[in-house]
């Protein structure tokens, strides 16, 4: 069996290249490839060029930036491991805006190292994390001359904007992307030094309520007591959507919600909770879960409903005595298997229709939706567990993630494959916030994890 030799060579290669790997990460992080701001289109192109060049350099084949209606998708492959499985390695080169820039201790696109961390926008989300997988490929190709499995690299540029172009590209390129499994690192471990594999993901329905009770604001002195108030109707609707125990009140909402398996429940309930983490990071006074469900289940494996924003009437300084004629709320629901987004939208609309008083018109606008996902077969899981255990010396946790990564749902829907989410960040990495960081330890361990995983899956 030649695999151990390959592994040995790949690990050795990566061990001796730490410094150049870090330099390349720095160069990648210097590109402000912000996808939400159109003035950064030039930087989006620079990021795809950097990636293309890099994939060429490390020995990948068929390297190409595919145009889409939105930002390009960077693709490369290496398909010479006959009889072995094919992996998609996923990442995204786009980053969040850096605002508020004044809160950064060092400039967001001038990566700096402090106390074992590299600080820059995109460090953990997602350049640093997907670069670990590319460095693993390089270590095999340059150190051992081959990769133990077939690999398709797929790095997109619209993860932060929910752009539909990537979805469309996946749907239209099933043949190109055909694979047995996808893998990504794009989020945070359960806690520092606690390796974690995410095997499921909540879905999403994002809606907006637009309420009208008149066609003009009215003086509350003259009309208070005669007409209804759009802001009051809004509050009434919101409190009827979810009670204070976190129970969602939409009829049939929970109809298709699957109970967690005993194994998952056990895994979740064995987790440490509290310890002041949320209090410290977010400044909340106490956690607030769905009643009857511990924090980590309520936060990842149970559906939720949240209001994201409210707007109505006069919101300036001081006082103005009007009865507002319109009010809007943005609301989303996180869904779990086997909830169906379009069925949930219908149930939501029907319920709002029944709640709406005769004094108001309510419009429900749909903004976005994503299907929930949980791994069906467990292909790759034992290998990833093994790889993480070898690197961290600890059994990884198997959990679900609360948020949505569009590509995971799309791979499942259009390619019929699962995605192993082997997140490498720490909970205090400040993804989407100022002073984003990625620890050099996570970068190095991530590369080692990816090398070992490729070895194990290719055996």
């Amino acid at each position: 069996m030649k695999t151990p030799v390959q592994l040995e060579k790949a690990l050795q290669y990566s061990e001796t290249r730490k410094e150049s790997f870090l330099t390349e990460l720095k160069n990648y992080l210097k590109i402000p490839s912000i996808s939400t701001l159109s003035e950064h289109q030039k930087d989006i192109r620079r990021a795809t060029e950097f990636l293309g060049q890099h994939l060429q350099n490390i020995g990948m084949e068929n390297v190409r930036a595919y145009s889409t209606k939105g930002n390009p998708v960077v693709y490369a492959d290496w398909l010479h491991a006959r009889g072995k499985p094919t992996l998609i390695i996923y990442g995204h080169y786009d980053v969040q805006p850096a605002d508020p820039v004044e809160d950064w201790k060092s400039p967001p696109f001038d990566p700096q190292i402090r106390e074992g961390n590299i600080y820059a926008r995109g460090a953990t989300d997602n350049k640093g994390q997907h670069l670990t997988h590319l460095k693993a490929l390089e270590s095999y190709l340059k150190g051992a001359g081959e990769i133990p499995v077939n690999v398709k690299v797929f790095i997109e540029g619209e993860e932060e904007t929910g752009g539909r172009s990537t979805k469309k590209f996946i749907a239209e390129n099933r043949k190109l992307l055909q694979a047995d499994l996808a893998i990504l690192s794009d989020g945070t471990k359960f806690s520092k030094n606690q390796p974690t594999i995410y095997i499921g993901m909540r879905g999403l329905v994002y809606l907006e309520l637009r309420i009208r009770t008149a066609h003009v604001d009215a003086h509350s002195g003259i009309f208070g007591g005669r007409i209804d108030n759009a802001a009051d109707v809004l509050a009434y609707l919101l409190t009827n959507l979810k009670d204070r125990n976190g129970k969602i009140l939409i009829p049939d909402f929970y109809g298709k919600v699957k109970d967690l398996s005993k194994e998952e429940w056990r895994s979740y309930t064995s987790l440490p909770t509290g310890g002041g983490e949320l209090e410290r990071i977010l400044g909340v006074k106490q956690i607030h879960t769905e009643k009857g469900y511990p924090e980590h289940i309520s936060g990842t494996a149970r559906p939720t409903l949240d209001t994201h924003g409210l707007l109505s009437g006069f919101t300036g300084e001081g006082s103005k005595t009007i009865i507002p004629y319109e009010a809007t709320a943005k609301v989303s629901m996180r869904l779990v298997p086997d909830q169906n987004p379009s069925e949930i939208v219908t149930a939501f609309k029907n319920y709002i229709g029944k709640l709406t008083p005769p004094t108001a018109d309510v419009e429900v606008v749909e903004h976005a939706s994503a299907k929930p996902y949980v791994m069906k077969n467990k292909f790759g899981i034992s290998e990833m567990k093994q790889a993480q255990k070898e690197v961290w010396g600890k059994e990884p946790l198997l959990l679900r993630v609360g948020g949505v990564i569009g590509a995971v749902a799309d791979f499942h829907e259009y390619l019929g494959i699962d995605t192993i989410m082997a997140d490498l960040g720490d909970p205090d990495d400040n993804l989407h916030a100022p002073n984003e960081k990625f620890s050099l330890e996570n970068f190095e361990k991530g590369i080692a994890m990816a090398i070992r995983f490729l070895n194990l899956i290719g055996r």
Copy 2:
């Protein structure tokens, strides 16, 4: 008895001066004396100069613009009716901003006459309305050489800003303003051609709720199901302040609310309701009163609670998946006799304190308050009824007004006098809106009403 001769002369004077009266109204309306916008300070001064000059011209004495910390108060008197009562004639020379200017059919400060109405900002609120009283004074002084009663003119410049300077001036000048009764015209009749006297006014408490559940917005995918949501807490508090029947749920809120007298109840319930007026003017689908109270009682003689504005989280276009950490609502309560604003604020704060969940901090900020008022003795009412009946050929309605005019409460509190509110506008006069107007008929009838009232009260 010489009064009828005086009256005859005054009426005759006014009859022959229609054209010059209208020219003077136009000149007054050309001054954009907007009190909320500091760039109009020059115009505020021009308005006080116009008034001072005008009061001199018509023969009033002790004419003076008194400085305050805010906008000046214009004062004049004529105190030669020995043994007769003393009247304060109240008005305000400041006007609302003209926005949105593009919705005006003719420029807001270039008064134009169309179909028997004069269109300009301030036409009905309040220049046109108080000028009727000054024209009545002129008619007596110039036409008959004297006024049948003692008169103090008091025209202020902060009615539209709730400025505290006028209040302070009244409080500090009790001697100067000492009188038996105040009179004003500053609002709308119950309906066109239906003379109306308002004998009471609701009070006001204006508060702001500021809710915090964390010190930063949190990602709803990662934290949804783990932490509380400021927007949800806000909706919960609002729906606990008032139910869908318009009943205010604050404990003890109704404790001091007086029932209407049988006479008032009868007067109110004899009023025509509906007829599509609110539907037409405001575009509401149907009226929405406190359950059990007809529209005009619910809208003027019962306390109300309204939300004026809501703001929380993400309110831009599209979607953003955050759990907002703060939310604010502006809320006011209209009070009726004998509710006490400061007791209501205390009850509100106590109740909010009890409702606030352990996950949130709620601050209650006080913006404004005014005491409710209802006429205690009926001095002047029968004279005003008679004057209106003579002018409109119809028995006037005796009602309360839903809104607040600061000076009425202040006259009551600091001078110990009632105010007769003899409003002259029509319900479709667009006060505070584009295309504000005042009908020439109301202007003329208002002058006749004021002349007749002065005669009757001076008998």
